[in-house]
């Protein structure tokens, strides 16, 4: 590969290197030799740890945190390996590797999570060094996808492509990935630590539900800076992230995070696992005291070594490939004609496409939520075909969303119809992004060792009940989120309708909340009544939808109607009959 020309914005079409492979244009950070050496050394290190464990030199108690640092959990049926997809972006080479690992070491499928990661459910401990070695071949790893460290940084899935973007968050997410990887001071924090970053007008990264949520923005002088929220989180005690600082200049980006982490590492609770997240520290200290501690620590940090000089940022930015977009007319006659001729394609276009910043392109969301299907699951065969499609239509790049769907971020409008037909052929053309069938569900009791109840069967029953795409579209934006226990991996607290699986004397029951919101207007849902059976939960959702449809005014979303008429009518209709 030749040297990449310097470019101010990798998303903007311009002269650059055009590689021979389609995925040379995928919007990820290109590893250099040091990155590769680091990952290779870590694989080697973990292989030795596995050997020491199998030889009895490490106890399970000592080995567990080491395997967790490498993304390896023990679940109900086997080990589960969680592979990091930094900021959710993959090349097709990486995607094919994941498909291959699924086939070779697992049972031919994988599961995308709400943290933009991929999980394999049937992994053997003795195979993991080999798997990690194969991942390293394509510049991937499973580091810090578990354990009490800074986890994989997530961002908006349309980053670098969407029309409403102000700052490309990938560059900063990558800086954070590097900054926090094997951080000597912050690898044994009181608890896990999740960061999300966004850089556009609409929050697609749910930043105020994270330990740290960052909004990248620009000031009047055109400089980049960041707003920091801290102490958001779901789980047992949900909190909405609080503002710590409105403007942190780019050069202090890492330093400010360092200060937050140091305050947390020293003062976060370690006596009670349920009170160990930073949200509890912020809550107990109060945001003002917490802020004062952070500011003090921040002021003291020795410069310049914590300073992010512009050449560092530019250096990292330059390692992001350009999609090499063409200059196209804004409208495509071909696209318009296909929509007019094919109702299903027209519906899919309305529901699954988002505006791209470049004329003539669209962002395609690929739903992993077929009616009656398992949310987030994909087979190796589907992955292979999707990789081919991404090579052909989207510069060899595939993205993962926190809603457990995939994205082809740069598709020419002229190509949309062809792409849709081929997606349809492999069952990936479900037109339900953001609709009632696009259910987020954690693995629940079918796989997860911590679960109280199953999540997937309920998601399947709901999406089957609302299978009719026309009805889904008529209902409009409505997000259902399901978790199988209070850990809230399914983000149920912030679902427009949230469902939490509980165990009532050995029976699975489901507690329903309404009014949650994961965007910047973050709200925690309100519990509407006692937990019900799976069947009753599906009926209850049907009832709530009917009430909404009967009450909504022109253009009003489910969430808006709830906010206007209150939760009362919904509660009453469901529990009145009892």
């Amino acid at each position: 590969m030749t040297a990449t020309a310097f470019r101010a914005d990798p998303g903007i079409p311009g002269p650059g290197t055009f590689g021979s492979e389609p995925d040379d244009h995928a919007g990820i950070y290109r590893y250099d030799d040091l990155d590769r050496r680091f990952v290779a050394e870590r694989v080697e290190q973990f292989s030795k740890q596995v050997t020491r464990r199998l030889a009895g030199e490490l106890t399970e108690d000592e080995f567990k945190p080491l395997r967790l640092m490498n993304g390896l959990y023990l679940q109900l049926h086997a080990y589960m390996l969680r592979i990091a997809v930094p900021y959710g972006v993959l090349t097709t080479t990486q995607f094919r590797k994941l498909s291959e690992i699924g086939r070779k070491y697992d049972k031919g499928y994988g599961h995308f999570t709400t943290r933009q990661n991929l999980q394999f459910n049937w992994i053997k401990l003795e195979d993991t060094p080999a798997i990690l070695g194969e991942l390293a071949e394509v510049d991937m790893h499973a580091l810090q996808t578990s354990g009490n460290c800074v986890r994989n940084v997530t961002t908006d899935q349309f980053v670098g492509a969407s029309a409403d973007e102000i700052v490309d968050g990938r560059v900063y997410a990558e800086i954070l990935r590097q900054w926090t990887i094997a951080h000597p001071e912050f690898t044994y924090l009181p608890r896990k630590f999740k960061i999300a970053i966004m850089g556009s007008d609409s929050d697609r990264a749910a930043i105020r539900t994270h330990d740290v949520g960052v909004i990248a923005k620009r000031n009047e002088a055109g400089e980049t800076g960041f707003t920091f929220y801290v102490g958001g989180g779901l789980g047992r005690s949900p909190f909405v992230g609080k503002l710590v600082r409105e403007w942190v200049p780019e050069q202090d980006f890492a330093a400010y995070l360092e200060a937050i982490l140091r305050v947390y590492n020293q003062y976060g609770r370690r006596d009670n696992i349920y009170k160990a997240r930073i949200k509890i520290l912020v809550h107990q200290l109060g945001i003002d005291k917490f802020k004062a501690e952070v500011e003090e620590e921040f002021a003291r940090l020795p410069r310049p070594k914590f300073t992010l000089a512009p050449e560092i940022v530019e250096g990292i930015r330059a390692r992001f490939a350009s999609p090499g977009l063409e200059r196209l007319p804004a409208e495509s006659a071909e696209f318009e004609r296909s929509k007019a001729e094919n109702v299903e394609f027209a519906r899919w276009s309305t529901v699954n496409l988002a505006a791209h910043k470049a004329p003539g392109y669209a962002i395609v969301s690929v739903s992993l939520k077929p009616a009656g299907g398992i949310p987030g699951d994909i087979t190796s065969e589907q992955m292979d075909t999707l990789a081919d499609l991404a090579d052909r239509y989207s510069f060899g790049e595939i993205r993962v969303t926190h809603a457990q769907n995939l994205v082809l971020a740069h598709v020419r409008k002229d190509d949309l119809f062809d792409l849709w037909r081929q997606l349809d052929a492999i069952g990936l053309a479900t037109a339900n992004i953001g609709l009632i069938g696009d259910i987020i569900a954690c693995p629940g009791l079918d796989y997860c060792a911590l679960a109280n109840a199953r999540s997937i069967p309920l998601a399947q029953a709901i999406s089957a009940r609302f299978a009719d795409p026309a009805r889904q579209q008529a209902i409009g934006e409505l997000g259902i989120k399901i978790s199988g226990c209070i850990n809230a991996c399914g983000h149920h607290h912030v679902g427009h309708i949230g469902i939490l699986g509980v165990d009532k004397r050995g029976e699975e029951r489901y507690q329903i909340t309404i009014g949650g919101d994961a965007t910047l207007t973050t709200a925690i849902g309100d519990i509407i009544g006692p937990a019900v059976t799976e069947e009753a939960a599906v009926d209850a959702i049907d009832t709530m939808v009917e009430i909404y449809l009967a009450n909504r005014t022109e253009g009003e979303r489910f969430l808006d109607t709830i906010r206007r008429i209150g939760h009362g009518p919904f509660k009453e209709s469901i529990y009145a009959a009892d």
Binding site: Q45, K48, R52, E57, Y188, R270, L308
Partner: protein
């Protein structure tokens, strides 16, 4: 208990003195922070080196004022999962400019050795029954770092790697 220094087993010239027992005046001795607080005046005329041992919950600011009295600060890890000690060492170095020995004691694993070293520890009292070979290997297992180290004006390693990576790429 085996002492590790610079990636090698080493002789321990220090003696840990349990609370209540007399502190020998002629050899380097480590006392608890609690004892120091209670009996500090009794060490006023001491000519031999003194060290202090901080429990997991005792953070750097607690000892900051008295650092010039100690040639060694031992930072205890109650459980290897309790990572406060990493911040304690770093604060001792970076915030308070402490230049004496910082020793990790308690439950630490060889797999943490590199992190200990990078946050400012000079020595480790490894738990009894530890595999010394694992400690010796631990420092060389991973050679790439992404964060700044403890040297006073170490450049940010992200700069280094970018400069290097440019060369590699060209």
């Amino acid at each position: 208990m085996p002492l590790i220094e610079d990636g090698r087993p080493a002789e321990d010239s220090w003696t840990s003195v349990p609370d209540g027992e007399p502190v020998p005046g002629d050899i380097p001795a480590i006392i608890s922070f609690e004892r120091w607080q209670a009996e500090r005046d009794s060490f006023a005329g001491r000519n031999t080196k003194l060290g202090v041992r901080l429990k997991g919950g005792t953070l750097a600011p607690a000892i900051a004022e008295d650092l010039d009295r100690f040639a060694l600060v031992a930072v205890e890890f109650p459980k290897f999962r309790d990572g406060r000690g990493f911040s304690t060492a770093r604060e001792l170095r970076e915030r308070y400019g402490y230049e004496g020995e910082i020793r990790a004691v308690g439950h630490v694993l060889p797999d943490q050795y590199l992190f200990l070293k990078r946050t400012g520890f000079t020595s480790v009292e490894a738990p009894e029954g530890t595999n010394l070979e694992s400690w010796v290997n631990a420092l060389s297992e991973v050679s790439v770092v992404y964060q700044p180290g403890l040297g006073k004006d170490d450049p940010n390693p992200l700069i280094n790697r970018w400069l290097k990576s440019e060369a590699v790429q060209g």
